[in-house]
């Protein structure tokens, strides 16, 4: 009886030893060497797997970086310091192009359900892109936000929420600047802005004053009052709503007070 037990233990131990030796040999003979730089690069990447670089997640992008088929500037989420460390690891001489500013997305529209007129009631698919295909969407303004949340559905960082009056609100802390919402928005209402930019003109309409006023009471009427009062001369007009040069803007807020339609906001103060 006891010999049976000893025999089976001995057989199993011998079998384990032989197979283990085989595995040990195979692990050395058929080993695939992985470039250690891939893991080093991966450690520096944000790890959000948002896909904004066009690769399947951060690991795919890290491999592409090491092989040399992608550029460091491909990741819009990475900060300057991280990008420079990655450049050190892989030796890419692309530092000139590394963007020093953190970018965040801004919704360039303040025409909510109360201020922006509608041309019909839309009861179809809750998707801005589908709505745009149906007579350019229910809003009279053809440039404004449709408020159906296509940007929310594509945001990998949960940085966008919808306000009760149907305008997307960007959480500036969560927004990583990947730019996926900019691509998804059919109205080109979402734009990437440097994070340091505080004051924003929240209107996208290039229509002339009268036409713009007819469709939305918050539309920029191109009155130039903001440009005239700006002490830093940071506000300019070129065939559209007022634009701000963020290199000159001092965030003084005079234009916010001056704007007659109140379409200029201090976005960094909520």
């Amino acid at each position: 009886m006891s010999s049976n037990i000893i025999l089976s233990v001995a057989v199993l131990a011998a079998l384990g030893f032989i197979l283990g030796a085989g595995l040990a040999y195979a692990a050395r003979a058929f080993a695939i060497t992985r470039d250690p730089r891939i893991d080093a690069v991966l450690a520096e990447l944000p790890g959000a797997n948002c896909g904004a670089c066009g690769y399947p997640g951060c690991s795919g992008y890290a491999e592409a970086l090491v092989i040399g088929s992608a550029l460091i500037t491909g990741c819009p989420v990475s900060r300057k310091e991280a990008s420079e460390r990655i450049a050190d690891i892989i030796g890419q001489e692309e530092r000139m192009n590394i963007n020093s500013d953190k970018l965040i997305s801004v919704v360039k529209c303040c025409g909510n359900n109360n201020t922006s007129a509608r041309i019909f009631n839309y009861s179809g698919l809750e998707d801005c892109r589908a709505a745009t295909r149906f007579y350019d969407g229910p809003k009279k303004c053809r440039h404004g936000c449709l408020g159906m949340g296509t940007c929310i559905s594509v945001c990998p960082f949960n940085a966008i929420t919808m306000s009760p009056l149907k305008l997307p609100v960007i959480d500036r802390d969560r927004c990583a600047g990947c730019g996926l919402c900019v691509d998804a928005c059919p109205r080109q209402v979402m734009v990437m802005m440097p994070e340091r930019s505080g004051i924003q003109v929240l209107c996208n309409s290039g229509e002339a004053a009268k036409a713009a006023r007819q469709v939305c009471s918050k539309s920029c009427i191109k009155c130039h009052k903001c440009a005239n009062i700006c002490p830093a001369e940071a506000i300019f007009f070129d065939n559209g709503p007022a634009k701000i040069n963020f290199d000159l803007c001092t965030n003084c807020g005079l234009c916010v007070q001056e704007c007659p339609v109140k379409c200029i906001y201090e976005t960094n103060r909520g």
Partner: protein, 444 residues
Amino acid sequence: MRYKTFPQGIHLRYHKQATAGKPTVTAKAPAVAVVPLIQHIGVPCIPQINVGDHVFMGQKIGDAEALITAPIHSPISGKVMALEARPHVMRRDVLSVVIENDGEDELYPDIMPYPDWERLDPDTLRNIIREGGIVGMGGAAFPTHIKLAPQSDKSIDAVLINGAECEDYLTDDNCLMVEHPEWVIGGARIISHILGNVKIVVGIEANKPDALAAIRQAAGEGDDISVIALDTKYPQGGEKQMVKALLDREVPSGGLPSEVGVVVNNVATVAKIFELITTGMPLISRGVTLSGPGVSAPGNLIARIGTSMEDLISECGGYKGKIAKVIMGGPMTGISVFTTLVTLTKSIGGVVVMRHEDICHEDPVVCIRCARCVDACPVYLMPISLYHYSRSLNYDQAVEAYGLFDCIECGCCSYVCPGRLPLMESIKHAKAEINNKRQKQHGR
């Protein structure tokens, strides 16, 4: 007796009684005609006239150089008041020619019939059809001269004339077949001549016995034309469903009926071709059904292109009740317009007016896995899977594994869904997104 048909599909409620027996009435020519320069699939027309010009009835006012396009003609005689963006059936606004009617209906002097068409060669006839601005009048508005010029490697052996009219409410094709069957048969003979004297098969749904009898009588005893009664089922009038039902041939995925040797044309289109050849008159008017519970006196009209919906509806006694939707085309494939200032184009066969109590306001609930959409789909797709892939933005998977582009957008799935899911809408959305993406990649 069992009628010929295609597999799957659904039965609608039809609602054709309101207008089925009524004779066609010619609508008043509009005081101001607004003629959009996009009335067909393909390249938009470029205006051929200037503001202030006098135009004749039937004069060409828009044309383009491209292959796939169809010229547009003035429906009335008068003065061109403006060339501006106006509301359109498909878009919010489209460049349109605004013509003030002088009430004379002066015919363009170049218009002349072609009595000896049997001696003309196919290319000449195709060019006459192109210059006459003929497009598919069943709803798709594809230029007919392209359809009648199949690629040389495809041999065509049959021309199908589509008289199914399977949509709810619409009866204008029925009226045309009852009142002018000789136009339909004559036009079919012209098309058959262009394609090399192929056989003609007319398919008509069995719920139109008058039309069947009239067309059978007009077709005569000869064996070149067969008139076949089809089961009353939606979407019997779909091109591929028609080919399957009448000839038992399956159009391959992604292909056109010409791949199985068939050309399909709507009865209204062939009647227009007959009118064009025998009178020289280009496509400037069409039959249109005004129906639905929101119209006081529903009827069938012959109206000029460019007449506003407002005029057409007042022609039929105006509105009745509180109006919720005005649908251009049939209720299954039509589009609910945002203003009745839109004007009649070549492809609109009906206007259906719905009151508030006639439309469904229920919100989508949830899929209960009943598979009614799968059973209804006439092209054997799984609409619910396509819906899920579309909603989760996984469009590529919908194309590769689930045949997204085979969808004919008939709307059967949305119609039968007990959960009221927007199945067809999401499929349409996925198609548009894929096309967008491909265009972007192509652009790069």
